[in-house]
């Protein structure tokens, strides 16, 4: 019997281990991971493909991390969960029993049914093994790719492929790229930079089937778009979205929606069973509801909250929201919350655009409280605004200053500066 069992050893799992050890120095921790080395930065697989990073650079903790934290790391896949026995079954048939369990199994790429998807040269882009296969394919001479989906992962793989000299066509069902993060103006600015780097962008369409090469049916040779056009390519990368890996709790009492349902302590509907990270549906403080938000910083924070509660220290998850920063194609971007809301009379939108040097800033307010923002080009002060958003600070008195080029802490009223504990 291990006091704590954690399945999944990436952002959320590591966050939980660190939090548990802050409270409980000795309680036995067993971490189950199907990946041999899971303490690497998943977002950095893009730099791995482009050649900027190797596995050593990607490690978010040193190799002694598990040992230093007195963790038994079991590199096997968990295949079953027996809630009444308090045990997790591993692929080799052994059982690990727990007092407290954390499911930090993350997500898996969503791959829609497509004719030809079994062909050699079709990839997803989620883990180091995907990145290694893709890098090998490029090393072997593949130089044309179709990326399906122009979201965060689609743009990150496109950036890497482009740096390797691969000619990429992005195919996106929505009418613009990064549609979950950017409004039309911001998306257009980024699109121009992506196209300038030689990428072909096709919006409003998807891929209906993948065809083989004329001389080898089993190898990717082209894709057929939904409106009928054909794009020749050597590889197809499917980057449409992430689905929570809930398979361990399927058929159990643990309540799921899209992801595993959790409360503010990250506990599931079953006592002593917790979930965090991409697999869970945690609180979004802007939408005021729980939902899946597959983001690294949130996975870490959720894992930490779960860890504290598992170790007996009450902790409440303050919530996150859709929040991403991007570095791709040379344009720094920060987009948080309702950055691109549907027209709504209750929302006030402030914009500052400087088209020449691609600076675009947009704030979305509701009752004088920030609920969304997009910063493009000049992002260094974005965190101050995120603070105002997270703490629901009424900005009416200093609204005019928010988007000025020289906006900073000195523009905040003294009461806010005092709250921020500046001195």
């Amino acid at each position: 019997m291990s006091k704590y069992v954690i399945v999944g050893a990436c952002a959320a799992g590591i966050g939980a281990v660190e939090a548990i050890r802050e409270i409980d120095a000795d309680g036995e921790i067993t971490v189950v991971s199907e990946e041999q080395c899971s303490h690497y930065s998943r977002p950095m697989i893009s730099d791995f493909v482009s050649g900027k990073a190797n596995l050593e650079k990607m490690k978010t903790r040193d190799d002694q991390f598990w040992q230093k934290n007195n963790v038994t790391l079991v590199c096997k896949k968990a295949v079953g969960l027996n809630l009444s026995e308090h045990a997790v079954t591993l692929e080799d048939g052994t059982n690990v029993s727990y007092e407290k369990l954390l499911l930090a199994t993350g997500g898996k790429p969503f791959v829609p049914k497509m004719e030809g998807q079994e062909k050699e040269g079709v990839y997803t882009f989620t883990n180091i093994s995907d990145a290694e296969q893709l890098a090998q394919k490029i090393n072997a001479g593949a130089n044309r790719a179709v990326v399906i989906g122009a979201g965060l992962i689609g743009i990150s793989v496109t950036d890497a492929l482009t740096k390797r000299g691969v000619k990429v066509t992005m195919v996106e069902l929505q009418d613009k790229i990064l549609s979950l993060l950017l409004d039309a103006t911001a998306s257009e600015i980024v699109e121009a930079a992506v196209r300038k780097a030689g990428v072909n962008i096709i919006t409003g369409q998807s891929v209906q089937k993948i065809l083989g090469k004329p001389d080898n049916e089993n190898q990717v040779g082209s894709v057929v778009l939904t409106k009928g056009g054909q794009v020749p390519c050597d590889m197809v990368i499917v980057a449409i979205g992430v689905i929570p890996r809930t398979e361990l709790v399927a058929g159990t009492e643990v309540k799921t929606n899209r992801g595993i349902v959790v409360d503010g302590s990250m506990q599931t509907s079953v006592p002593n069973v917790y979930a965090s990270g991409d697999v869970a549906e945690a609180y979004d403080f802007i939408l005021n509801q729980n939902r899946q938000l597959p983001l690294w910083p949130l996975a870490v924070l959720e894992g930490r909250v779960a860890g504290y509660n598992m170790a007996g220290k009450k902790a409440d998850y303050a919530g996150g929201t859709n929040m991403s920063s991007l570095k791709y194609f040379g344009i720094p971007i920060v987009s948080i919350g309702l950055a691109n809301p549907k027209p709504d009379a209750a929302l006030e939108i402030l914009v500052n655009q400087d088209a020449e040097n691609t600076v675009y800033k947009k704030l979305v307010l509701k009752d004088n409280v920030l609920v969304g923002m997009t910063f493009l080009g000049a992002i260094e002060r974005a965190g101050i605004l995120f603070y105002l958003m997270k703490n629901k600070i009424n900005v009416q008195a200093f609204k005019d200053a928010l988007l000025k080029d020289d906006f900073g802490l000195a523009a905040l009223p003294e009461s806010v500066r005092t709250q921020m504990n500046l001195e």
Binding site: P43, P297, P332, V334, E380, G383, D406, A410
Partner: protein, 147 residues
Amino acid sequence: MRKIVAKQEHCIGCGICEVHCITQHSKSKDIIKAYNRERPRPISRVRLELNKPVSFAIQCRHCNDAPCASACLTGAMHKDEKTGLVTHNPEKCMGCWTCVMVCPYGAIKIDKEGHVVTKCDQCADLDTPACVANCPNGALECVEVES
């Protein structure tokens, strides 16, 4: 743990702290060379906040809960176990700007040339950080706090 605090009432907004921060983080450690010759010019990690009549200098607060460190996608930004200082390792940084997004003080600077971030390291190899030592008005001060 040491913290740098700003005395707003003493700050005259001269920006000398920035000059000395740049010099201290330059290769030559020489004011003139750091400004005129070193390219890219080193980045000041302290920022003069000016909104007359308010002025004060701000740098990384080395927060206890360090939002930047828990958000960092790579482990580059981390709390040093020994010193308690929030420390950045440029070798690990992928320049994803996630820490920039979550720092409430806007204290993280983007190094455009290096495609990484940079921030106050409290001049680890000096007894007194350069900004504190060189403020002509005593508007920056080091205090010891519990970490």
